[in-house]
Symmetry: C2
Subunit: 195 residues, 2 copies
């Protein structure tokens, strides 16, 4: 979140930002801002604030955003398609090197400059090129099997849209975007909130 606002400030030509200003933007306290940013080095100067550009560059480095990450998408549906067209995806260095599906109607269909590939080719493809991240946009029932296969093939990070928990070894990072749980959270809030 800090990076998001710092990029905005940097883009608008602002050279420094106080912890007060960052706190207001991020909806937190100046003390929290100072604490959080102190993890990344001593940037702030009392009375001067944070150097916006320098801190932006440092945060991008820490997040690994200068690097190019090779991504496969499993599940050639709307979610995968929305993600591939999401500007922020490319901005963060995520490059789609393959899209896979098990549905014969989808296999071979054009996808960007390439075509949707048969899921049976997934393991071989990952073993023969570098793949950093697998995006799972598939039903819950298929998720763990695919996770096991991509982890076995060497993938170290997974973005999971399947509405289920998946299990991975400790060296693999997983982020789950659980739409079902978000929807239930809203439903719960509407049901139980006093009017």
């Amino acid at each position: 979140m800090y990076l998001r606002y710092l990029e905005e400030l940097d883009g608008s030509g602002q050279h420094t930002a106080s912890s007060d200003a960052l706190a207001t933007l991020c909806g937190t306290t100046p003390a929290q801002v100072r604490k959080d940013l102190s993890f990344f080095g001593s940037f702030g100067k009392r009375g001067l604030g944070y150097p916006v550009h320098e801190l932006t560059v440092r945060l991008r480095e820490i997040l690994g955003l200068g690097q190019a990450w090779q991504v496969v998408i499993v599940g050639a549906g709307k979610i995968g398609s929305a993600l591939a067209e999401y500007r922020g995806f490319r901005q963060r260095g995520f490059q789609v090197v393959g899209v896979y599906d098990k549905n014969p109607d989808k296999i071979g269909r054009p996808w960007g400059d390439a075509a949707v590939r048969d899921i049976t080719e997934l393991d071989h493809d990952i073993a023969t090129q570098r793949v950093d991240i697998a995006v799972l946009a598939i039903p819950a029932d298929d998720a763990q099997e695919i996770v096991d296969r991509v982890v076995q093939a060497g993938v170290r990070a997974i973005l999971n849209f399947a509405p289920t928990q998946v299990h991975v070894p400790a060296h693999v990072a997983v982020k789950t975007v659980n739409m079902a749980m978000e929807l239930e959270g809203l439903s719960f809030a509407l049901t139980n909130r006093a009017d």
Copy 2:
């Protein structure tokens, strides 16, 4: 998560489930299961386990999942489209009553049985029909303005896909699905994890 696994067990005809079994399914401890489920009433019987169907029904009630929620989607792009076609969306009682966009090329295009409406009609539409939830699938720059408008018009829950924090009064629930942050989390993990 409990509901998800209980529904599976219920669907496969299982009558009871032990806290041990639920803990294994959910990746937690039996003690945590007992603690969590005790919030909803005294369901478990020592030695007998939890009554699967009864607990499923109760959890659905608590989450408000028997109710029909009327939803507007702001932003007629791929995210809104993926969401509207997501089976879990209807299963949880979410019914899309309107889709809005500001892009003249999109306004009037078919969307399910209806058509994409002009964003300028949003406030009037919300004021004249019940709308429980607004889904924001729009750029960050437009998000707060739309939030202010739908809240003003009476919406009490927001599902935000815009990559920004939005501010709402205390009586409004917000869930943000921040894809940018998930991607950065994976990038960070790949950069900083020892091989």
